[in-house]
Amino acid sequence: MIAKLETDGQGGPTVRLFNGPPRPIEVSEEVPLEIHDLTVAYHKKPVLWGIDLSVPKGKLVGIVGPNGAGKSTLIKAVMGLVSLSSGWIKIFGLPYKTSRTRVGYVPQRESVDWDFPVNVMDVVLMGRYGHLGLIQRPTRADRDIARESLEKVKMLPFANRQIANLSGGQQQRVFLARALAQESDLYFMDEPFAGVDAATETAIVTLMQELKDRGKTLLVVHHDLPTARNYFDMLLLLNMRVVAFGPTEQVFTHDLLQATYGGRLTILSEVAHEVKQRAT
């Protein structure tokens, strides 16, 4: 190992190169997520290819692309859930391991077994686990935070309900509450709108706006193009590579979407039509 990351006595992170003296490194509060030359492959087939990305603070970013474009994989790569073939990822200027308490994660709803014997409160409390020590148990303060998070997604009345007895939208809200309980600065959400009712969708959008207004950064995998334009400040068009990344109004153009989706989506023509209409 040539470079080693550690913490000095004062709590600031330092880097040690070639066993030299520890040097402080720049912790960038302004760049919550920075990705350089990221390549991820499953069974030698690349899923993500040479991703370079620098997400500014306090933005609501939508990750958009066709099926198999590597949207979920990108999030998983950042969270360290898949191994990287090349490149590096920094969260607030630090490796994920060091700054993971600042990251909140909302996985896809299908990724867990909803028959699992836990109730809503248990799931939301799990959001606090990352802040607890190895054998520490959630304290009263943690429970209060969990309760507040539930209140924010209007699920407090369901706190003692077993999670199987919730509707899809309610389940998604529970996941959201768990992410809120993580009290993070950077949130990753994997298709939070998949299979939820209209009311929940609105609630989620409102919540995202609120989080953004409080200076949090959100990256949200989204697959519905027409709504993507209204929901997000910035869009990341992804199809194995970064096709485009920038403010929504600049990125949401016919050519770029065409480049992202290829010619294969019928929905594309509808959207393009809408884009044209708005332009004229």
């Binding site: 492959a41 290819w49 073939s85 028959d115 199809n239 194995m240 970064v242 992202t260």
Partner: protein, 327 residues
């Protein structure tokens, strides 16, 4: 320790079994081993395809109470009683699994675990309570008595002496298995691969499922005497798994399954002769060894092949799709 692993003597291990005195019994044992492995392996291929390998395990365990109860009720060891008992046990197991799985939130894996252990426990208790009456003992239940196959009266039909009754029975079952697969090849394939498509073609997937389970019980129960209730799972899965490492085409897999059966049965006899251990277990060990060989040396996807490809083809990652242009 020396008397634990007997000295390896080529003459004793490889030649003696096939010389005049032993030839007949060796041949019967090898034939029985081959028939059992081939029949089980052919049916097992469909279990593997349908991701039901462990349902096979469950059914092979639960035929025990079926046989025990059938013997107790009929007070005989007739083949009919045995098959009826096994069929009933197979259906009961399948039904229990379905009921637990569908009526509660217990998942299928737990349902399988609960169903077969319960039935097997009942079988073991019956066997240990009425060992004399059902003429089964715990060892036989565990790993069969394939070495005893050539002993006792031979079956004869129309004046012609055919062979030991269990071998004759197994041969009929194996032939029937081949025949059934040949006749219902299309139905089995479609319903295993795509139940939705099967339904649209008018194939009753539930019926195919139950029929497969019933036939599985028949195969398992005829193999029971030779390999017991637990090693059957090896015969069901290993040939098909080995074959599917080498080929991806079902007809080829079927052929390789039969080849695997023949090899593991003969090699198993030699291993058992050398180590002086249970013949059925030795056959399974050889079957596993063959699987290991296929795993490492398979021309399409073997470990060695993978390793070589990794060594030769750097960099490992190559874009395989035309990239959209960055703009």
């Amino acid at each position: 320790m020396n008397d634990f692993i007997p000295h390896f003597d080529f003459q004793r291990v490889f030649l003696a079994p096939w010389t005049a005195n032993n030839l007949e019994s060796t041949a019967w044992i090898a034939l029985m081993g081959f028939l059992v492995t081939a029949a089980c392996g052919l049916v097992g291929n469909y279990l593997i395809l349908r991701r039901m390998a462990l349902v096979g395990d469950a059914i092979s365990h639960s035929v025990l109470p079926g046989i025990a109860i059938a013997f107790l009720l009929s007070r005989s060891r007739s083949a009919t009683a045995m098959f009826v008992g096994a069929l009933a046990a197979g259906i009961v197991t399948t039904v229990i699994i379905e009921v637990i799985h569908h009526k509660t939130r217990v998942k299928q894996d737990s349902a399988i675990g609960i169903a077969f252990t319960t039935l097997f426990a009942i079988g073991v208790i019956l066997v240990s309570l009425f060992a004399a009456k059902v003429d089964l003992d715990q060892e036989c239940v565990l790993y069969g008595e394939i070495a005893f196959v050539p002993l006792g009266e031979f079956t004869s039909f129309a004046g012609i002496v055919l062979g030991p009754p269990s071998v004759v029975r197994m041969a009929i079952v194996t032939l029937a298995t081949v025949l059934l697969i040949a006749v219902f090849y299309k139905e089995l394939l479609v319903s295993s691969f795509d139940p939705g498509l099967a339904a649209s073609l008018g194939i009753n997937a539930v019926l195919v499922h139950y029929a497969l389970m019933c036939w599985l019980s028949v195969v398992v129960v005829s193999a029971f005497e030779a390999v017991g209730a637990i090693l059957v799972i090896a015969m069901l899965i290993l040939p098909g798994a080995t074959a599917s490492l080498i080929s991806q085409r079902l007809p080829v897999i079927m052929g390789l399954t039969v080849l695997h059966a023949a090899l593991s049965s003969v090699l198993g006899i030699h291993l058992a002769t050398w180590l002086e251990c249970s013949t059925a277990a030795a056959m399974v060990i050889m079957a596993s060894t063959l699987f290991g060989a296929a795993w490492i040396f398979s021309p399409t996807d073997g470990l060695l092949r993978r390793w070589l490809r990794k060594r030769l083809a750097e960099p490992a990652v190559e874009p395989t799709v035309q990239m959209p242009q960055n703009s």
